[in-house]
């Protein structure tokens, strides 16, 4: 519980820092910290596989590309046109506050409701999510992740691959030089 609190605090803190830092590179670094603390939270649940993937994919690969791009175009602190329109800023705060209140309200409601009302429903056979039906250890292992990914969710998995393909083709179409004939598709 203590470790959980620390990790959660780090995660929330760095999430706030990500959006408040002015320098893009420190935002990116806080994002890395955020990813790592999320991985810690996963590991705390016993999901080592997911935790490792979280670090490898997000912190290790995607964020390196982020930082690579930031460094490549050499963004410094003042390169963002800072938005002076105050009204939108305040509206944003109000909107965020409403969402936050809603989340708190729903969570509070959930705690109250689940404690008294739905317990019987939860225990009935219909209210068993796939998570419950496997035992904890098994659910979190690489085998069961693979089983779920390639059997139960095979179709969404394949659709995701098409999504990535579409993104690649799209990026290629946007990024290539004006004359499509003389270009070999050199990565920048």
């Amino acid at each position: 519980m203590i470790i959980f609190s620390i990790l959660a605090a780090v995660a929330v803190f760095s999430a706030v820092m990500v959006i408040t830092r002015k320098s893009p590179i420190s935002s990116a670094i806080y994002l890395i910290v955020l990813m790592c603390s999320l991985a810690g939270l996963f590991a705390l649940q016993g999901a080592f596989f997911i935790a490792a993937l979280q670090v490898i994919v997000y912190a290790g690969a995607i964020m390196v590309l982020f930082i690579f791009v930031i460094m490549l175009i050499n963004l410094r602190d003042n390169d963002f046109g800072i938005d002076k329109r105050k009204i939108q800023k305040y509206l944003g705060f109000i909107f965020a506050a409403v969402i936050l209140l809603q989340a708190v309200f729903i969570t509070g409601w959930a705690m109250k409701e689940f404690s008294n009302e739905t317990e019987s429903a939860m225990s009935s056979e219909f209210y068993q999510s796939p998570v419950d039906s496997l035992d904890q250890e098994d659910y979190l292992s690489a085998e069961s992740v693979a089983e779920n990914l390639f059997m139960r969710f095979a179709y969404p998995f394949e659709v995701t691959s098409i999504l990535l393909l579409a993104a690649i083709i799209g990026a290629f179409v946007i990024a290539r030089k004006s004359d499509p004939i003389d270009d070999e598709g050199e990565e920048t």
């Binding site: 729903i106 409701e113 739905t118 219909f126 969404p156 098409i162 799209g170 290629f172 179409v173």
Partner: protein
């Protein structure tokens, strides 16, 4: 493990066509245009045929993720029609303006695949994935013409707002997952029995967010801001594609979601949809009145048409859904038809896209002008055109279900819309032509597209019975419980 590949065979056909085009584009030289169009045509025909084969084997597959029901079946026909017409109207345009970019077709086919996934998916995750597979090619297509600065601006706007809308959508999905512990619609509908007041509230909140997300895609009124700029900025064939298929796909999901969640969401949703429909219709029609650019005008008109379909969504049930299906089919054909004429007239670099540029075309190009007149009348909903049949069905459905005021507002809006649609016709026939005349694009494929759309418009206007029967059949399968009961286990 049942991977019922046969259920998704139309999707596979579309995707395979996309891949073939992608590879083909590598190997064929400069005389690409025709071959690519031919392959696309064959691919779409195969997909339509496979879809027709699936007519008899409705079912749930892939562990309850794919659902092949009459509504999905019907929507796949709409998507195939839209893609087919788009390919035809694009052919010359692509080879002339974009030096024959093969990726153009690939992106269109991938987007079509995404729409099909959306329409026949029974899982919120897959719906979201389908939406993204559809959207990402669209973002790119909006800015695919490199020479057009407006196109790039359109792509950027579309992308940013689209990403924002996707965020709403995901949040909504998360809330619904929180309520039922599953993203699968079949599983969710089985758990309604055990739902508490709490999950009802979560579902309501989730549905609001989903409505925002999809409202963006269908261009419903408060979320429509991107539509005019993107429709104007993108090249005409892309705009035609964008205005037909994706809108239908988003509606497909909305129809499905609202019929699934019918038992648990409160009646307030009818009011929300009611208001949304009215605002959308009014906003679209009133702003279309003052447009000078024809693509912008059609953009606002497409907002207005989304409003009419929202009436069908508000009505819901068998009548509403069948009316909505029928209307979307007609809108797809008529709208792409109208855009094909715009391409015909627009000239190099789309120089001539103001309504006033159309002055005198009626005598210069009589056949094209007649086709345009028919399309405009159909969009306005004149009797004896397809548009009338569609609108009639929606308004009758609304009146039968007691939404009399909604029907009256709808009819009033149709009357308003006549003004700006007729404006184009007036400009073509009754204004003096300008001195400089645009070079029109004449090509076989474009002619075929115009012809197909023209025949479709007239045919559906005069003899709509077959298709109305098909829509009614599809609409009568709206009841989720019956599908789930008959298909699962």
């Amino acid at each position: 493990m049942g991977f019922n590949w046969i259920l998704i065979s139309p999707e596979i056909a579309v995707l395979a066509t996309g891949f073939i085009l992608l590879i083909l584009d590598l190997f064929i030289g400069k005389s690409r245009g025709f071959l690519l169009t031919a392959v696309s045509f064959i691919g779409i025909m195969v997909a339509l045929w496979l879809n027709y084969q699936n007519y008899s084997i409705m079912g749930v597959g892939f562990q309850g993720i794919v659902i092949n029901d009459p509504i999905g079946f019907y929507f796949k026909i709409i998507f195939c029609m839209g893609t087919l017409l788009t390919v035809f109207i694009s052919s010359t345009y692509v080879s002339r303006e974009m030096k024959g970019m093969g990726e153009y077709y690939v992106l269109i086919f991938i987007a079509t695949f995404g729409m099909m996934v959306m329409a026949s998916s029974a899982d919120l995750i897959t719906i979201f994935l389908g939406l993204e597979v559809m959207s990402i090619p669209l973002y790119v297509l909006a800015g695919i013409h490199r020479g057009r600065l407006r196109g790039r601006e359109a792509a950027m706007k579309y992308f940013l707002l689209g990403a924002f809308a996707s965020g709403f959508l995901l949040y909504g999905i998360a809330l619904i997952f929180g309520a039922y512990g599953s993203t699968n619609l079949v599983e969710i509908s089985q758990r309604f029995l055990f739902s508490s007041g709490f999950s009802g509230i979560l579902t309501g909140a989730g549905m609001v967010f989903l409505l925002v997300g999809f409202g963006f895609k269908i261009a419903a009124a408060p979320f429509h801001m991107w539509v005019p700029d993107v429709y104007e900025g993108a090249t005409a064939p892309v705009t035609a594609f964008m205005s037909a298929g994706p809108k239908a796909a988003a509606f497909a999901v909305l129809f499905r979601l609202f019929s699934v969640f019918q038992p648990v969401i409160s009646d307030n949703f009818t009011t929300i949809l009611w208001i949304l429909a009215v605002i959308t219709m009014l906003w679209g029609n009133l702003l279309a009145l003052s447009q000078k650019n024809i693509k912008r005008m059609l953009a606002y008109s497409s907002i207005a048409h989304a409003g009419y379909v929202l009436i069908a969504l508000t009505v819901g049930g068998r009548d509403g859904i069948s009316a909505g299906l029928f209307y979307l089919l007609i809108y797809t054909i008529v709208n792409i038809g109208a855009f094909s004429i715009i391409i015909f007239f627009s000239g190099k670099n789309e120089k001539y896209e103001n309504i006033s540029d159309y002055a005198g075309f009626g005598y210069k190009y009589p056949f094209a002008a007649i086709a345009m007149t028919v399309f405009m009348l159909a969009l306005a909903g004149f009797p004896a055109t397809a548009g009338f049949a569609g609108k009639y069905k929606i308004f009758v459905a609304a009146i039968n279900s007691g939404f009399i005021w909604l029907a009256i507002i709808g009819i009033f809006n149709s009357l308003v819309s006549v003004w700006y649609y007729i404006g184009v016709v007036v400009s073509m026939y009754m204004k003096q032509p300008r001195d400089e005349s645009p070079t029109v694009i004449l090509s076989m494929t474009l002619m075929v597209a115009v012809l197909v759309a023209f025949i479709g418009t007239v045919y559906l206007g005069l003899f709509p019975d077959d298709w109305i029967a098909l829509s009614d059949w599809a609409g009568s399968h709206y009841s989720w419980a019956s599908i789930v009961g008959s298909l699962v286990r």
